[in-house]
């Protein structure tokens, strides 16, 4: 194909379109999509049925929302410092925190990074 005519003065200013994938998923190899079930994280803006992006390459630091393995199920909670240890804190008054005493073995599957919630 041959394009004739004057070059557009805007040519020098063309930028790549925005890509949600690169914006939301900086680590595609270790990022997985999850589905949320339940209301316990409503206070953090995560609702029943929402899609959740979970990155396994991030360190699960206190303050982050994590997917944890607890009593044979995947559970979504915020990791918090508590009396020199850690606990899993829901974001809903009806759900008590889970204290992680040294006896409890906690496995963190990944760190939640974004939630996709339809309006």
């Amino acid at each position: 194909m041959v394009v004739g005519g004057f070059p557009s003065p805007a040519d020098d200013y063309i930028e790549a379109g925005l890509d949600l994938n690169s914006l939301l998923i900086p680590h595609p190899i270790s990022t997985f999509l999850w589905r949320v079930s339940g209301e316990a994280m409503q206070g953090a803006g995560i609702f029943d049925g929402d899609l959740l992006l979970v990155d396994r390459s991030l360190q699960p630091r206190p303050g982050r929302v994590v997917v944890a393995v607890f009593e044979g199920a995947f559970t979504l909670k915020r990791l918090e410092r508590f009396r020199g240890g850690l606990r899993l804190q829901a974001a809903h008054p009806a759900y008590p925190p889970i204290d992680l005493t040294s006896a409890t073995e906690l496995q963190i599957w990944g760190v939640a990074t974004h939630v996709i919630h339809p309006l």
């Binding site: 190899i29 270790s30 997985f32 079930s37 316990a40 029943d48 199920a73 979504l76």
Partner: protein
């Protein structure tokens, strides 16, 4: 510094993928079954420890497995394929060269490091894949591919090596290779093994030290290369990027035997559709199509047969291939037999060319372009919405012979409707 090659593979890959997405499976014995839930093709560490054999037919041990509390899963190819791609991408970002060798193993050139640093590098790689994907890998390092393969096995057998092992320099190989039976060398088939045994070459070390002239006379360059590789001299290069396939085959056993022609046509048509998809994905054309069918070899009155047709022009058009294949089915079919397996083999594959003039097919270039666009659209839709979204009516709807997968886990990573669930309760 001589460059080092590594063979990196995933431990119990299929079972580990199942365990990564189901907390109830962690620490429990898990087995994965082959097509049609036929045989055990993967076992978790816990299942190995129970002494469950690889390749055992499922029906023979189903009761026993239940009694032992073993979790049984059908092969979930969507899940394993996605996890495999992630593992390879993860490794590929950390080595200068990677050759993907199978779904769960790859050869790699390691970074140029000293011996001690190499072991630390391997250990870091293990931690990384474990953290990012929840899968355990083993890393075997050596100056050649054949030795890297052996090193990988040595990395696994001794827990003290923690999944990482490196062969010492070529000068110190003897004690290691003396302990490896000749059959266990990568690339040594039954014939070569028998030949070695007859000459008293029972270990990898013995083969590596055998008279090269003798090896060459019987086994040619292939044998010499194997010998060199065992001596730590690299002869087999890393192959990067997929090698162009010479042929493509789609073949399955039926979950129930087929006795009538209509069902057999549906089965073969389904395989043709799959094979054509593979061909288009590989950007290839075929000029030769074979259909084969057979009854069970374990029952009396065996019948098996095949028929081949040369195509006037190489193609990857599903419709053209179906038109070629279906008459062959009618030709091969015999009434009164219970067919157990069928398949489609595409040969004489060639790369997709720029110009494809169909001299003997009455299609104008415009019609030809529209056909290609149609195939593209079918592939796109089936890719996005799942296999079988658009299908050819001749393949039948919900056929009774379709693959049995009674213990299939969700496609956790590839289907929006089957994502893993996290409880917020």
């Amino acid at each position: 510094m001589a460059s080092t090659l590594a063979l990196i593979d995933c431990n119990n890959f299929y079972a580990a993928c199942e365990q990564a997405f189901d907390p109830l499976l962690q620490g429990r014995p898990v087995v994965v079954l082959s097509n049609n839930d036929g045989c055990i093709v993967a076992r978790s560490r816990e299942a190995r420890q129970l002494g469950i054999g690889m390749g055992t037919p499922y029906f023979k041990v189903a009761q026993q497995l239940q009694g032992l509390g073993v979790v049984v899963r059908s092969s979930n190819y969507a899940l394993y394929g996605d996890m495999s791609a992630r593992v390879m991408a993860c490794l590929g970002a950390r080595v200068p060269e990677l050759e993907v060798y199978s779904v769960d193993e790859a050869f790699a050139r390691t970074p140029a490091l000293e011996a001690g640093a190499l072991l630390a590098w391997g250990a870091e790689l293990r931690v990384l894949v474990k953290q990012q994907l929840g899968l355990s890998i083993a890393v075997g390092m050596a100056p050649s591919k054949v030795l890297a393969k052996l090193a990988n096995r040595l990395a696994k057998v001794d827990p003290a090596r923690a999944g990482v092992f490196r062969f010492p320099t070529a000068a110190a190989l003897e004690p290691w290779l003396e302990a490896v039976p000749v059959e266990e060398i990568w690339g040594v088939g039954q014939r070569l093994a028998r030949w070695c045994r007859l000459r008293g070459l029972t270990t990898a070390w013995a083969l590596s030290q055998a008279n090269p002239a003798l090896v060459k006379r019987q086994w040619g360059v292939v044998g010499l290369r194997l010998q060199q590789e065992l001596r730590g001299i690299s002869c087999l290069p890393l192959v990067q990027g997929p090698t162009p396939k010479r042929e493509t085959c789609v073949s399955r056993s039926f979950s129930k035997p087929i006795e009538d022609l209509r069902q057999l046509r549906e089965a073969v048509a389904t395989y043709v559709v799959r094979a054509a998809e593979k061909l288009r994905r590989q950007r290839q054309l075929t000029a030769c199509l074979t259909v084969f069918i057979r009854t069970s070899p374990f029952q009396s009155g065996f019948y098996g047969n095949s028929a081949t047709v040369k195509l006037p022009l190489a193609t990857n058009d599903t419709t053209v291939l179906l038109q070629a294949a279906l008459p062959l089915v009618a030709q091969l079919f015999r009434r009164g037999y219970r067919f157990h397996k069928a398949g489609v083999l595409l040969q004489e594959l060639q790369p997709l060319g720029q110009l494809q003039q169909h001299l003997f097919v009455s299609l104008s270039p415009q019609q030809q372009q529209r056909r290609e666009a149609l195939m593209q659209l079918v592939d796109q839709l089936n890719g996005r919405f799942g296999a079988g979204t658009l299908q050819w009516a001749v393949t039948g709807l919900q056929p009774p012979w379709f693959m049995r997968r009674g213990h299939l886990s969700p496609s956790y990573t590839t289907r929006l409707k089957e994502l893993p669930l996290v409880q917020a309760r």
